[in-house]
């Protein structure tokens, strides 16, 4: 059964550094999402992406964040200048038609 994959599983970075989180959605899916979960808090929506553009973004997704689908398979989340409060688990998800979302295993980001 196809699955969403994410790399790396863990990332440690220094405050102010750029990080790129990688996701490979399920191959025939058209809708892509990023969510994050700060330790002890709920899973929060960051951004949705369809037809090569952002379809919706949350208040969290400010100018420090960007997403890209550089080729036919990858979907990346970039944080330009990380802050301590960016430490969280980041989940990628994809969906065929915008109904059921399938989640990746997550990348745990720690900003020191």
């Amino acid at each position: 059964e196809p699955e969403v994959t994410q790399t790396p599983s863990h990332q440690v970075t220094q405050m102010g550094q750029e990080v790129i989180l990688h996701c490979v959605p399920i191959s025939n899916h058209l809708y892509f999402y990023w969510y994050r979960q700060i330790l002890g808090q709920k899973v929060e929506f960051l951004v949705s992406f369809y037809n090569n553009e952002i379809s919706e973004k949350s208040e969290i997704f400010d100018d420090q964040f960007s997403v890209e689908r550089p080729d036919g398979s990858n979907f990346t989340l970039k944080i330009r200048s990380t802050k301590l409060e960016d430490s969280a688990m980041y989940f990628c998800a994809s969906s065929a038609q915008g109904e059921t979302q399938y989640f990746g295993p997550g990348t745990r980001l720690l900003v020191l």
């Binding site: 699955e3 969403v4 809708y31 999402y33 969510y35 808090q41 709920k42 899973v43 929060e44 929506f45 949705s48 369809y50 379809s55 919706e56 949350s58 989940f91 969906s95 915008g98 109904e99 059921t100 979302q101 399938y102 989640f103 990746g104 295993p105 997550g106």
Partner: protein, 111 residues
């Protein structure tokens, strides 16, 4: 406002006991609701969607619009049901499909 509330952080039951995980939502219009489960060290997995009205692993959930609830139930809990359970609402605009999650409830099934 669009919101999902799961009032219990932890629910602990004995094997064989009935389980009800509570979920309340706030949404104007017809909601689309989901239950996701996360077993230890695994990814979030869809457990069920209200529109499919199916039973997965013995779990069911009924949408009650009057009480704005979507509680998850199972008549006899098994130890392998121990996991984190998240209720989620498909938020507006619904065509983007973003999910609004509750805080999650940890279900602990004791032998």
């Amino acid at each position: 406002a669009q919101r999902v509330t799961q009032p219990e952080k932890l629910l602990s039951v004995f094997k064989g006991a009935p389980v009800e995980l509570k979920c309340n939502y706030s949404y104007s219009g017809s909601p689309e609701l989901f239950w996701y489960v996360q077993y230890s060290r695994q990814r979030l997995q869809l457990l069920l969607r209200h529109i499919s009205r199916e039973s997965i692993k013995g779990f069911t959930a009924d949408l009650n619009k009057g009480e704005t609830s979507f509680h998850l139930k199972k008549p006899f809990a098994q130890e392998e049901d121990s996991a984190m359970y998240y209720c989620a609402l498909k938020g507006r605009p619904s065509n983007t499909g973003k999910l609004i999650f509750g805080q999650g409830t940890t279900l602990q099934v004791k032998p």
